[in-house]
């Protein structure tokens, strides 16, 4: 089973100290990408719930740049310490409550210098975490669930900890780059604490608050000066200078100073402790990103409109990186001054070349589904599958089709369907409504609709794309403007073996298109022309499908199914009527059974026998997608579980949050062969993947574009489906992914070290003798070179080890 399509953008990524790796939180794991190639190198697996925070232990000297340690915190209530070059888990700390955010000030303020010094300090490795107090969660209660607490990470189990602040929802904590302050935003306020110095456990953090009249979205601390910037929902960027000069610095003389409040604190609200507050207003919508450059001279801001703005802090001069095409979520700079990254809401992480702000490369996750206008909901087919290579073509927000390899969870390329820039937040005026791929994956077809303004200027166009032979991308072959006059295209289907396609329209006709390249053999100057037009009693044509051998074309004309000879364009026969208009049609493999699905106003799944022209059986199920295997007569449907069924008490446990089911049928048998329940089935789609003949797999992409590829016939997945299939999100990884899938599991030669709580930051020393084992086994399983070298040299200098011990 392959699982993928996780979001890369749930929490900010982090560069490693040498800026060669980028760590990204991907669901329950942390994926490590190479910044040079943009490919995944390894992943840290161990958390059982989504990882929310990722802190790379910073290096204080150039020599330590190769150190690869990081802390992660997760909703499963644990904090873990990793060596991500390995990758290996060094330490796990139970925190009992789901952690939404965590900062460790001492990592920044007192960077590790020498190992022994660190070890002395290690007992006061204090972290501030934002947790959700699950003990007080009750339905409808107004308890403050979000707590900001102080933990000591040196202990393997953390007691309750001191609570600094309680909020309604868990907030994320922001720390200043110097490690002196941290704070949270809370509605229109920013609460800031200073980190008690000296390291005494019981020192109390002092707190101050900054006020604003709008909801604050994000804020950031200046690396050296006492400047706080905040971005609000209206797009303003506020800059407070001299923050906390009185309250935080002067400490005990707080009261005296407050008396001296004078009026020249321009722009500062009430009695906020700041010298001045200025406002920059460029962003038209909410600000999501604020980050200072490492020297504090520049401020990076970005927001919903997808433009990265660089402000010169002293002068307010701006520079832009426009047309990113998606709301920005995070901006991270790296130790390498020429590299930084910007994270977008469409699951893309762009690596920027720095002073020029060019996008060097993109780590592209699967893009989220586009938001369609209401009239196209349920009609658009925005996902298509290339069955042989396991590539999915997905319509995206920015008028592109993304090709995504489901088998190795990697974006391949993007094809610009409409030559337009996408501006997030603008009114949607152009929609890519459908994408279809031919069975061999060599031809793609898309339809787009330009919505009219005041009833003028609407345009429907149908495009045919040919795949490039070498790289997996497509080039435009033919554009058809208004293929069915002004009526919209309802479905596109490709002939299974030949270059032939059919498009059906709500305007009451369907057209068969053929490619004329067959005679001159060159794909380059091929074009598609209309071969035939057909209609049936002027009824809207809503779906189409070719039979397994391509000799019969089935077109749904509202609630009847018409069967045609696609070559001669002759109506062969008409299959009786369903109760409601058909939205999906599919032949069950090479058999004579025809599956039809309709959902409005009464959902129905019906299976017709095309040779006897009769209805075989039907269910009252709302179907989201239908797919059939090419060779066998089995087919699978993705059905939404009816609400009435779900509310049944006894079944509630089984379904929990899952709203859909994949049912596998075999030909005429109305009893499903197997059933899997899934989450977020609405808007999902399924397809059989038949790369190699021996293994038929079923791919399911859910409404959020997360996906799973599994073997429908293997016993292992049967078991899961029958008892308790854990849904998509909660499901533990069963197959190996990324690095481990390629090279196998690393040997656990340092298990013992993990148990040793004191050796938290001492990877170079070990109580055991690792060199005795490291060279045993396959060379593929060797640890990375820098680690290996260290170990090896240690083995040569045994004395040194002894001393440390």
């Amino acid at each position: 089973m392959i699982r993928g399509g996780r979001s890369y953008v749930t929490s900010p990524p982090s560069f490693s100290n040498d800026a060669k790796k980028l760590l990204v939180c991907t669901g329950n794991t942390v994926s490590v990408f190479s910044a040079a190639t943009g490919l995944q190198v390894t992943s840290l697996e161990g958390h059982t719930a989504p990882v929310t925070t990722l802190i790379v232990v910073p290096a204080s000297s150039p020599a330590q740049k190769i150190l690869c340690y990081c802390w992660t915190a997760s909703l499963d209530g644990t904090v873990r310490h990793w060596d991500f070059s390995g990758p290996e888990l060094l330490k796990t700390i139970e925190a009992q409550h789901p952690i939404y955010s965590m900062v460790i000030p001492s990592l920044l303020s007192e960077p590790q210098q020498q190992i022994d010094k660190r070890r002395q300090l290690s007992d006061k490795l204090v972290a501030y975490v934002s947790v959700e107090d699950t003990s007080v969660v009750k339905e409808g209660s107004k308890e403050l669930r979000g707590h900001i607490r102080r933990f000591n990470l040196a202990k393997p189990r953390i007691p309750r900890g001191d609570t600094l602040k309680e909020t309604a929802e868990p907030e994320s904590i922001v720390i200043s780059p110097s490690g002196e302050f941290f704070g949270i935003r809370h509605k229109c306020k920013i609460h800031i604490w200073d980190v008690p110095s000296g390291g005494s456990r019981h020192a109390v953090s002092r707190k101050m608050t900054l006020h604003h009249s709008k909801f604050i979205n994000v804020f950031a601390f200046h690396p050296t000066e006492r400047i706080v910037v905040a971005g609000d929902v209206t797009g303003r960027v506020l800059i407070w200078r001299g923050v906390g000069n009185r309250k935080l610095a002067l400490g005990n003389q707080k009261k005296k100073v407050r008396a001296m409040v004078d009026l020249d604190n321009a722009g500062v609200r009430g009695e906020d402790d700041a010298e001045s507050c200025t406002t920059w207003h460029w962003h038209s919508a909410e600000v999501n990103v604020l980050n200072f450059s490492s020297d504090g001279a520049y401020l990076y801001s970005g927001g919903r409109e997808g433009v990265l703005v660089v402000w010169q802090l002293d002068t307010g001069k701006k520079k832009f990186l426009p047309r990113i095409g998606s709301p920005l979520l995070y901006f991270m700079w790296s130790q390498d001054p020429t590299l930084s990254s910007v994270v977008c809401a469409d699951n893309q992480i762009h690596l920027l070349k720095m002073p020029s702000m060019e996008i060097l490369r993109t780590i592209s996750g699967i893009k989220p589904p586009p938001s369609l206008p209401r009239m196209y909901e349920g009609l658009a087919s925005t996902v298509a599958f290339d069955r042989s290579s396991g590539i999915a073509a997905l319509c995206t927000e920015n008028y592109c089709v993304q090709l995504y390899n489901l088998l190795n969870d990697r974006g391949i390329s993007e094809i610009q369907v409409c030559e337009r820039n996408h501006q997030p937040g603008d009114e949607i005026t152009v929609v890519v409504t459908a994408v279809a791929l031919s069975l061999d994956g060599s031809v793609m077809s898309t339809t787009e609709v330009k919505l009219p303004e005041d009833g003028i200027g609407g345009l429907v166009s149908l495009k045919f794309w040919m795949s490039e032979p070498d790289s997996k991308t497509f080039t435009l072959s033919t554009i058809v403007y208004e293929p069915h006059r002004d009526a919209g295209v309802s479905a596109i289907a490709f002939h299974p073996t030949r270059r032939m396609a059919v498009s059906t329209s709500f305007g009451g006709d369907f057209k068969i298109w053929v490619c004329n390249s067959e005679k001159n053999q060159t794909d380059k100057d091929s074009s598609w022309i209309c071969h035939a037009v057909g209609s049936y009693k002027k009824k809207p044509m809503t779906a189409a499908a070719f039979s397994g051998d391509g000799s019969v074309l089935a077109v749904a004309a509202e609630n009847v199914i018409t069967l045609w000879n696609p070559d001669k364009n002759i109506l062969l026969s008409v299959l009786g009527a369903t109760l409601t208009p058909i939205t999906k049609l599919c032949f069950a493999g090479k058999s004579e059974f025809l599956v039809a699905a309709s959902h409005f106003p009464r959902p129905e799944l019906s299976v017709w026998n095309a040779s006897k022209l009769s209805l075989s059986w039907s269910y009252g199920l709302r179907i989201e997608a239908v797919t059939s295997a090419v060779d066998s007569s089995s087919f699978a449907v993705l059905a939404l579980i009816p609400k009435s069924f779900k509310t049944d008490e006894s079944k509630e446990n089984i379904f929990r949050s899952r709203d859909g089911a994949i049912l596998l049928f075999n030909g005429s048998d109305p009893k499903p062969v197997s059933i899997w329940t899934v989450m977020q089935a609405k808007g999902g789609s399924i397809s059989f993947l038949e790369g190699d003949k021996t293994q038929v797999r079923l791919a399911y992409v859910n409404g959020n574009h997360e996906y799973v590829v599994f073997d429908p016939n293997s016993d292992e997945s049967h078991e899961r489906s029958a008892v308790d299939y854990d849904g998509l999100v909660g499901q533990e990884e069963t197959g190996d992914a990324g690095y481990t899938s390629l090279y196998g599991q690393l040997p656990d030669y340092d298990k013992k070290r993990m148990e040793d709580a004191e050796s938290l930051a001492t990877p170079f020393v070990s109580s055991e003798r690792p060199w005795e084992t490291i060279f045993s086994g396959s060379t593929l399983n060797f640890p990375p070179l820098e680690k290996l070298c260290a170990e090896f040299f240690e083995s040569l200098m045994e004395k040194r080890t002894a001393v440390v011990e």
Partner: protein, 529 residues
Amino acid sequence: MEEELRVRLNEHHQVSKVFPVKPKSTAKPVSESETPESRYWSSFKPHSIPNLVSSISALAFSPVHPHSLAVAHSASVSLFSSLSLSSSRRFSFRDVVSSVCFRSDGALFAACDLSGVVQVFDIKERMALRSLRSHTAPARFVKYPFQDKLHLVSGGDDGVVKYWDVAGSTVISDLLGHKDYVRCGDCSPVNDSMFITGSYDHTVKVWDARVDKSKWIAEINHGLPVEDVVYLPSGGMIATAGGNSVKVWDLIGGGKMVCSMESHNKTVTSLCVGRMDSAETRLVSVALDGYMKVFDYGRAKVTYSMRFPAPLMSLCLSPDGSTRVIGGSNGVVFAGKKKLRDAGEKKSLSLWSVRSEVDESRRRALRPTYFRYFQRGQSEKPSKEDYFVKQKKGLKLARHDKLLKKFRHKEALVSVLEEKKPANVVAVMEELVARRKLMKCVSNMEEGELGMLLGFLQRYCTVQRYSGLLMGLTKKVLETRAEDIKGKNEFKGLLRNLKREVNQEIRIQQSLLEIQGVIAPLMRIAGRS
């Protein structure tokens, strides 16, 4: 891996890209308009020689350079220079000339007329060298054998083919066999004593002068009165024209038909073998329907077809392939000239320049130690070992694109209206629709700009390609700007024109509907049967 990398590297171009507005692409013809073949045959630059009296009955090119052209028209033969197509000399006959032929060295030519006399002329002298009188009826063709300078073949309406000794003005043999008028003949390109003749008795007969039983050695039945015959370059195959069909026969294989071409609509009058650039040969035919057709007899396919404004009588292609002449029945010679690439000359030139090229390359090799190295300019060509860094090509933005980029929508619309390119205007309008700004632009327009917009709408709103958008827009403009338009003198004319356009369009639509009403029942009946 590398491939993947490349894809990723390409991606960043995609992210921040400006898309200039583009007009909708128009349909391309389904079939290829240009094949190498059609390019060759249409590259003859038309050049016609008008004002010759009566129809052009025969044409001939001299086989030696500079390939002067003999045109037989009415009772005279005119010689033209093939380079300038200017008339140089004219020979008069007693009756209408029916055929003309050059000797292999190009110094003499023979012609026959309807009085039955075959005459031989020196091209430099006005008077005939020999007059061969023997035909008792109009002579229809005369031919010099391929290399033989001493004999002639002629045929005529008396049904006799005569083999002449030119020097002695005597008939060597009378070849009897044709039962009707002999209209045409050709001599073998491989054997000087072999020739074929075609006759109105539907047959083509092959003769050999060495066999003197006055008996043909082979016979082919074309099935229709034969108008022209021609040997194909191999000498083993012939092509015959009769009625509206052209047939290719294999003589060596026993007179079997190889292929036939029947794409002419009227009688084919003349045949000729043409040699293309690629040394392939084609059969070219002209007919009374005014078409010249190029027939690829290897593939049995008509590869090119060209229409002329008169029935065509005769055809000839110059041996070097540079000139194509076709004689029309109205006394016009449709000549076509082609710029000849002097391949031979060039070759000799390059032979000469080999040495200097070597010198050149030695001279050119610049080293950083040379002074000239630093004087290289922009036009300096990269040498082989240079690593070529491609300059990023900037995107060219038109004025309206720049304005659209700055969100100055109305100005963009006005600037594109000034350009007077309707496709671009419509493209900008579509972009504005996508931005939901078109109606705002219209309502913001000032008077002069509104006039410009109305002028554009008046001119193009009924053009089918744009009418989908412009009809609706015109209505909206008139509705929203009614107050500004009403009563203004400068708009009166525009509105009147607009009204007229719309009325005309309505009339067209109505008549189209009527036609549809007529056709629909017919179609239905046709569909039923």
